[in-house]
Amino acid sequence: MGNPAVTTNRGGGSVSLSGISRRYGASQVVSDVNLEARSGEILALLGPSGCGKTTTLRMIAGLVQPTSGEISIDGKPVTTLPVHRRNLGMLFQNYALFPHMTVLENVAFGLSMRGTPKAEMAHRVKQALALTHLTGFEDRMPAALSGGQQQRVALARAIVYQPKVLLLDEPFGALDKKLREAMQIELRQLCNKLGLTTILVTHDQEEALVLADQIAVMRGGRIEQVASAREVYERPASHFVADFIGTSNFIPSAVLESRNGMTTLAGLSGNVFTSSMTTNLGAGEKAIVAVRPESIRLTPGEPSGGETNTISGNVLRTVFKGQSLSVWLDVPGLEFVCALPIEAIGATPPEPGTRWTANWSAERTLIVREQ
């Protein structure tokens, strides 16, 4: 679908937030947020509910005024620019389609606000509907559409006037899993095709991992980490990030030494861990070793001795999860969970009550700070 009028707008606007804060009465909802979404990039604001991610997005849109700080789009400050003059596209949580207008009127709304001539308007609406696979739905009312179709209308409405930045507020929350996954991939392709800078708010880590080039993990109104999906997953900056994204086993430890890019730590029960992560924690300082369940290999019996990055315990229970078998080991102080790929299960799968040893590589040993 090469349509020149839409694709000529390649290269979305960059968005930058510096020192953005928002307070409601006594509660500080967003504190000193610094963020940069580069042109054409998909940035996800990820965090639990109440972490300030939606407020941050609404401040970018202009729907909420920051208490302090500066927002700029393409280098131009927009902090005091009213919403209707920011020229952004936005997808709302429940789509916010105008119920008294047809699909066509909904999609054309942004263009008519911009005084687009009739002929061009018809042309552009047609393109946007084609892009979102809605051709033929022009005269339907939003109430007569399915959730997925409503979502597409909202998307067509948001991109038809070629905004430089697209804002998405939990856009897929109301869709079932299959449809959500399909829409995510479609959205990603569309954003890349149009070169739109996209900022997405979500509490769903999987959604952030699927869609985003960069993920900003938020907690309590602050940014915990901004990094690529892979880095956030493989090198979480904090206990919170490691816990929020994916599943992790957390082992309280203390740093023994850190040199030549390797860190050695001691677990409370005497286990020794080595990690290829460097840390600025000094010897003797408390740290937490985090291990992803899927990084772990399981062998029957006790460790052979002298190895690092092993932990052993009796199997508490196992749960079959389709692609993997989750195994919980009873380790002093914690339940250690391992995800065993189905093809890695040998002749004798782990049975509750039997003793197994978990081990993993130094590359998979994550060191995170305590809170």
Partner: protein, 264 residues
């Protein structure tokens, strides 16, 4: 939504409807009675009482005056009520609940008390413009209907749509006319219709404030009842019922709004 309603509920609803509608049918039947005085059940059939009423300049004058009064009151109530309802639902105003309580109080205080209070107030002020007095009096009792129905429509209006429109580039006045108005219009129209009917039917307020030159139809009806007891009274009552019915039907047809749904 087609849900099966239990027979017990059907019966209760039928009884309630009967109790509401039956009294309205009585004057209709009495008005066509070919007798010199009101009888029930009616005897014979004639439309002469309607002809008599319509030919009577006093009745016509009162009817037209009531229309004029109701139209003015409705306009004033909407002009005052819409911003008031919007403000009370959209913003946090100190003393909001007290304000709303005062505005809605004419629904609680007996109308006759409100009427006499207004009369005393106006005479203390030495205020003699009867039409203006009637407009003020009626507006006081009509405003709660407007406020309640308009507030409800503002509460139900989806704020997200306004945000969406603003992001799409709509300046505030366009958001108001193209997004908010279509959502609150049914509530405003319903409020207006109720307001018109309440003013048109009002007796207890007008009773204190009217004079010979400003004589609404309910007062006229009452004086006719006192003077004579022929079926023309029933004809006037029937005409008033028809008029109210017509009003509701026209609104439903023209604006496609289900008033019954909004009244709930």
């Amino acid at each position: 939504m087609t849900e099966t309603v239990s027979p017990a509920i059907r019966i209760v609803v039928a009884i309630i409807l009967l109790m509401v509608v039956a009294p309205l049918v009585v004057p209709l039947l009495m008005s066509i009675s070919d007798t010199a005085f009101i009888v029930f059940p009616p005897q014979g059939f004639t439309l002469k009482w309607y002809a008599a009423v319509l030919a009577n300049p006093e009745a016509r004058g009162s009817f037209l005056f009531s229309l004029e009064l109701a139209a003015i009151v409705t306009t004033v109530s909407l002009v005052l009520g819409i911003p008031c309802a919007a403000g009370l639902t959209r913003f946090k105003v100190p003393g909001q609940d007290i304000m709303l309580g005062i505005i809605l109080s004419p629904l609680i205080v007996p109308l006759i008390v409100t009427g006499i209070a207004l009369l005393q107030f106006f005479s203390m002020m030495n205020f003699r413009a009867t039409l203006l007095q009637l407009v003020i009096g009626h507006t006081v009792v009509c405003l709660p209907y407007v406020i309640r129905s308009v507030s409800a429509s503002f509460v139900l209006a989806n704020r997200n749509l306004e945000d969406a429109a603003a992001v799409l580039g709509a300046p505030p006045h366009v958001v108001a006319t193209r997004i908010v108005w279509p959502q609150v219009r049914p509530g405003i129209l319903a409020g207006g219709v109720f307001c018109f009917i309440v003013s048109f039917d009002d007796y207890p307020i007008s009773m204190w404030l009217a004079d010979g030159n400003h004589f609404p139809i309910p007062l006229y009806l009452y004086t006719v009842i006192e003077r004579s007891f022929d079926p023309s009274i029933a004809a006037i009552a029937s005409l008033m019922i028809f008029f109210a019915l017509l009003l509701v039907l026209v609104i439903e047809r023209v604006f496609g709004i289900n008033l019954a749904r909004l009244a709930s």
